[in-house]
């Protein structure tokens, strides 16, 4: 990313926050509709002792689920890229399961795996796994047949073609899947936490709503957004490094 893009992004954010602050004062909006950014920041700071462990738990759940899901998704895609008949058998089912909104499965996950971190990690691994799997499989199978022929003419077998050609050509698609998954991982963590947990930003938000503490709600949203942005930024930066030829 060039410096100009970063600067313009920061300028846009500053304008938005400034406008928000102005609106709240100008129309003297009540806190439960929209608190001012300055108030949110102040609350975040004063509530840091409670927010920090919650943020750490949310980040831990999202990241672990993400790592497990990504690894499983890529591995499964590689296996199915080699096993064509199995792919034809499984793919329609995978697409069907994936098209049901995740939130629908969350209560089941809580029932089966409890209200601790495990249920969140499994939910995240599930959604990330599907996203990465579908992207990776698409990339692995959409290679130039002429390039496959060329490698075969050099005596390459299927495994070699997978390693030398399919996997590198699938990297852009895999990277896209991984990038989209960062945000999805955060959403699923927060939603599942809201439905049942003892600790986490989703839980903090849910409780603060019950207590009608809207500044606290916004403070937790702010922290969750920061985690999400950093996560997305790091994965995007790695993507630009690894997929340098695009």
């Amino acid at each position: 990313m060039s410096r100009g893009v970063v600067l313009r992004g920061l300028l846009g954010a500053a304008l938005l926050i400034g406008g928000w602050e102005l609106c709240v004062w100008a129309f003297s909006l009540p806190q439960w509709i929209l608190p001012p950014p300055s108030g949110i920041l102040a609350t975040t700071w004063s509530a840091r002792a409670a927010l920090l462990p919650a943020a750490a738990m949310t980040a831990y759940e999202a990241l672990s689920g993400y790592a497990i899901g990504a690894a499983l998704g890529i591995a499964l895609a590689m296996i199915l890229a080699l096993a064509t008949p199995l792919r034809a058998l499984l793919l329609p089912m995978v697409v069907a399961v994936n098209s049901v909104p995740v939130a629908a499965y969350a209560p089941l996950a809580l029932l089966w795996f409890g209200t601790g971190a495990l249920s969140k990690i499994i939910m995240v691994a599930f959604i990330v796994g599907f996203t990465v799997f579908l992207n990776a499989l698409d990339g692995l199978t959409r290679v130039d047949p002429a390039a496959v022929s060329l490698l075969r003419s050099f005596g390459a077998g299927r495994l070699r073609v997978l390693w030398v050609l399919r996997l590198p050509s699938a990297l852009p698609a895999i990277a896209t899947g991984l990038r989209i998954s960062t945000v999805r991982a955060m959403i699923v963590t927060l939603v599942t936490e809201m439905l049942g947990s003892q600790l986490g930003l989703g839980w903090t938000i849910f409780q603060a709503v019950l207590l009608i503490d809207f500044l606290q709600v916004w403070a937790a949203i702010l922290v969750a957004s920061i985690i999400s942005l950093v996560f997305f930024g790091v994965v995007s930066a790695i993507e630009r490094r690894v997929v340098f030829w695009r």
Binding site: A146, L150, R152, S153, F154, F244, W245
Partner: protein, 253 residues
């Protein structure tokens, strides 16, 4: 390596791509193959490279022996197919890597060969950073790194401008004389076909057959002046007539 093709044909469903092709190529020979578009030249190459089975009845013998062809010939497809995530040297090393040759010695060989192929100083460049002519030289070098006596080059200079193309032709002859391989070379350009070859083979419209097999006895080494020499023009006229006849057929068909 001696290549004998006899009675080789190919159907794709209802389309008869190649009829009965009979062709013999002697070791060290440079043979060019011309013919109308869609007459089955690439199909023939795919069969010679072992990527496609000929229809029953045809046989392809290398040094008089039948058997699996995959990995026996150095095949260069119509497009360069360089891998964008590999630099020039790593692209050229691809066949050696697949063969499982020791990396250090292959690398040393590639570094030496890069000089002959005019790629010195570009070893670490990526394909996206090269001109069309250079990309084609990398693809050719990759084919040479796969050390097989018989090389199948499918329109290697097809996408190049006329100037680069004639330079590459002289350069290829130079390389061929130095490395001494048997080359079968597809082209659409009659000048190129004559300039390079010991023999020009003309194919008919689809279904492809060998229409004409014309030895070219022009002296070597050959240079650009040859293109305007009377003996060259005479051969060219003869071949043009044959090709023209076939092209007309393919339009009226």
């Amino acid at each position: 390596m001696k290549l004998s093709i006899s009675g080789v044909g190919k159907n794709f469903g209802a389309v008869r791509a190649l009829d009965r092709v009979d062709l013999d190529i002697a070791p060290g020979e440079f043979v060019t193959l011309i013919g109308p578009s869609g007459c089955g030249k690439s199909t023939l190459f795919n069969m010679l490279a072992g990527l496609l089975e000929p229809d029953a009845g045809g046989s392809i013998l290398l040094d008089g022996k039948a058997g699996a062809l995959l990995g026996r010939t150095a095949f260069m497809p119509q497009r360069d197919l360089l891998l964008p995530w590999r630099n020039v040297l790593d692209n050229a090393l691809l066949p050696c890597e697949i063969e499982g040759l020791p990396r250090a010695s292959s690398r040393a060989r590639a570094e030496k060969m890069a000089v002959d192929f005019g790629l010195r100083g570009f070893e670490k460049h990526y394909p996206q950073q090269l001109s069309g002519g250079m990309r084609q030289r990398v693809a050719l070098m990759r084919t040479f790194m796969f050390e097989r006596d018989l090389m199948l080059l499918d329109e290697p200079f097809g996408a190049l401008d006329a100037l680069t193309r004639s330079m590459m032709q002289r350069w290829l002859l130079d390389i061929w004389e130095r490395y001494r391989r048997t080359i079968l070379f597809i082209t659409h350009d009659i000048d190129e076909a004559i300039f390079l070859a010991d023999r020009v083979v003309v194919m008919s419209t689809r279904p492809g057959r060998i229409k004409l097999d014309r030895p070219i006895e022009l002296p070597r080494p050959r240079d650009a002046h040859l293109l305007t020499a009377p003996e060259f023009t005479a051969i060219k006229r003869e071949l043009l007539d044959a090709v023209e006849e076939e092209s007309l057929k393919s339009f009226s068909a």
